[in-house]
Amino acid sequence: MRYLHIANARVINPQTQTDEITDIFVADGRIATLGRRPDAGEIEHTIDATGQWLMPGLIDLGGHLPEPGYSQKGSIASETEAAARGGFTHICSLPDTKPVADTSAVVKLILEKASKAGFSRVLPLGAMTQDLAGEQLASMYTLSEAGAVAMSNARRPVKNSYVLRRLMEYAATYDIPLFLNANDLSLSDGGCMHEGPVATRMGLPGIPETAETIALAQILLLVEQTGVRAHISQITCRRSVSMLQQALENGLRVTADTPLANLLYTHEAVTGYDSLYNVQPPLRSERDREALVQAVARGELAISSNHSPHEIAAKKAPFSDAEPGMSQYDAFLPQAMTLVARDELTIEQLVRALSLTPANVLGLSQSLTEGADFNAVLYDPRDEYTLTASEIASGGHNHPLLNRTVSGKVAQVFLEGCRIS
């Protein structure tokens, strides 16, 4: 047996409530021993991880990959490389590619390309409806067989409650999980930022809170009726958090996530019309942000990336004309760590939201325990560097930290024992 020895790292594993400096020995892609030397075998390689933190690999519940179809924004190779640099071992790709991921051919293509690139593993989300048009069921079973882990409509509207109900019933039949976005288009259409005093002052069309909460109410009631396995993607409102709490208290099994950007920024970031902060769903008020942070702290929400790479021309336009989305994968973990640095979350709460909770949503196991696959991130909190354009692996440079100093760096990322970054 030949071992990889990671020495002296601060090992943080939410599942076992571990936070201690200890040693790990890895062989055959799995954790052989934790905190003790293996009985037999030799050490092939030792990593001195003094001062570094080892945590389970991050899992993203929703990022936009621009392949197939949007080569000017990047490729599966570039985005999975960026994701790995950000600390992700697994990412769920949203189905809004071109063509849309509503055929097994597209799902297989994505899996092949990701495998070939050799960075983060991609778990494709298949389309819930044909062409994401929100009217006809997509072949969910076939997509699931081809490797899609769940179905999503990528924030595009589902025609009405009737169609949504049927989608849920169908998915429930085969125990296919649905990733649902709470977005009432009749209220949000035309809006490009949170409806509130900032939007009023800036004259920008707003998206009211009710666009999310009304749609969420519809979703929760139908989930209850149909019994489908449901995950709510990208919630942004304080009120949504309380609605979810209520649903959980009533015994409904739903999970939810919020994009990292909504934990770090508010609608105030739009002052000055910087199109970088044009995102969907929008950045909301400080009250909303705080409620989301507290929900993450309580373990009620996972954190996702909503990564959306764009070419320069897509963002270099007046605010409401720019394409929405922020590039997030590069330096993702250091960005997330600012919540710990600001004492808004403990490190355990953050790591839980980034890896354990998403793993549970997907039915995966992501834990640093003996016998588990070694999917992990080695993070150096002391490293400080400037995120220049050449340091960004993603095809999208629409990154909030572009040319800024970043505190903390992902040193190494392992997927099933192999180094992917």
């Binding site: 005093p197 009023t200 002052r201 004259g203 739009v270 000055g272 007046p318 605010f319």
Partner: protein, 329 residues
């Protein structure tokens, strides 16, 4: 994230673009009004032109149609002796898929010194000044719902010339505030110039719910809203509002908010009536009031040229001289 005034002001606080009234100091707003006053006197002479911008090229870039505003800017540029080019954007390159950026860079390459821009996107003028052509003076002729600063300044000048200092006055703005860039610019200017109270009057569907955060007090009722007002500004009601579930009919709007002699009597007896134009007689305002002796609507039009000459001269000055130097004798 940039403060709009780091874009539109030089290091020493002078205009180099004119994008919004928001955040400008009282001194600067007053300077604009004073400079406009001097231009009013030049407009009253036989030769209305001054040679200030001779040799400069001004381009009117109107992405949204507007004959009146465009013509006043054209006249203002000509009276400053500038060369003016009118670009009919709807029928030119951008409809062929050229990006806004490329259209502007092409124009800059033709040695343009100033763009007067009207665009349907809020923040468009800001975007152009900050990211596309920072060395060309940008005058915002209206961007989406955000700002129409030259209109607001000519309204301030009208108030000053007919009612004296804006300090201490009660001003009411009536109509579709939600969609109005004029109203937003007026509110900022009035507050900075010391108005005692700025009121906005209209139905709930046309008043933004956070309008108080801008310093304006909302009213749904004309009698209460106009009480003690020194200035009544009526906004134009666009026909589309009746289609988007915002208003039932022009008739009901006129009944509740249309400025008639009866409603005008709720304001102070010497209150002035203003309207940015064009007026919809019988919808926002009745003819008897529009043509009556409290109306200064036509004066607004004549001040419009002087105000535009003032901001164009000031912005061009700021562009040429980023830091002001002592002048010789």
């Amino acid at each position: 994230m940039t403060d709009p005034n780091t874009v539109q002001l030089t290091e020493d606080g002078r205009l180099k673009h004119f994008l919004t009234t928001e955040g400008l100091s009282r001194e600067l707003l007053t300077e604009i009004l004073d400079t406009a006053d001097s231009f009013i006197s030049t407009q009253e002479r036989a030769v209305k032109t001054v040679p200030l911008l001779r040799g400069k090229t001004v381009v009117n870039l109107f992405f949204e149609n507007s004959t009146r505003t465009r013509s006043t800017f054209e006249l203002a540029a000509k009276r400053l002796s500038a060369d003016i080019l009118n670009l009919d954007i709807a029928r030119s390159a951008t409809s062929k898929g050229e990006t806004l950026m490329d259209t502007l860079w092409n124009l800059e390459a033709m040695y343009s010194d100033m763009f007067v821009v009207r665009h349907s996107d809020s923040g468009a003028a800001h975007f152009i000044a900050e990211q596309v052509t920072p060395n060309v003076a940008i005058i915002n002729a209206g961007d989406g719902r955000h700002a129409h600063p030259t209109q607001a300044m000519l309204d301030m000048l009208t108030i000053r010339r007919h009612k004296g200092d804006i300090e201490g006055k009660i001003v009411a703005i009536v109509g579709d505030i939600l969609h109005s860039r004029v109203a937003r610019s007026q509110i900022h200017a009035l507050r900075t110039l010391g108005a005692a109270e700025v009121r906005v009057i209209g139905p709930g569907t046309l008043l933004p719910s956070d309008i108080e955060s801008m310093g304006a007090v909302p009213y749904y009722d004309m009698r209460a809203g106009l009480a003690d007002c020194d200035v009544v500004i009526m906004l134009r009601l666009q026909k589309e509002r009746m289609q988007n579930a915002l208003l039932p009919s022009e008739g009901e709007f006129f009944k509740l908010y249309g400025l008639t002699k009866e409603k005008l009597a709720f304001a102070k007896p010497d209150a002035i009536v203003m309207h940015p134009g064009p007026i919809n007689r019988g919808v926002e305002i009745e003819s008897a009031v529009a043509d009556g002796n409290q109306s200064v609507i036509l004066n607004q039009v004549s001040y419009g040229i002087a105000v535009r000459m003032a901001v164009m001269a000031m912005a061009m000055s700021g562009q040429q001289t980023p830091v002001n130097s002592e002048e010789p004798a």
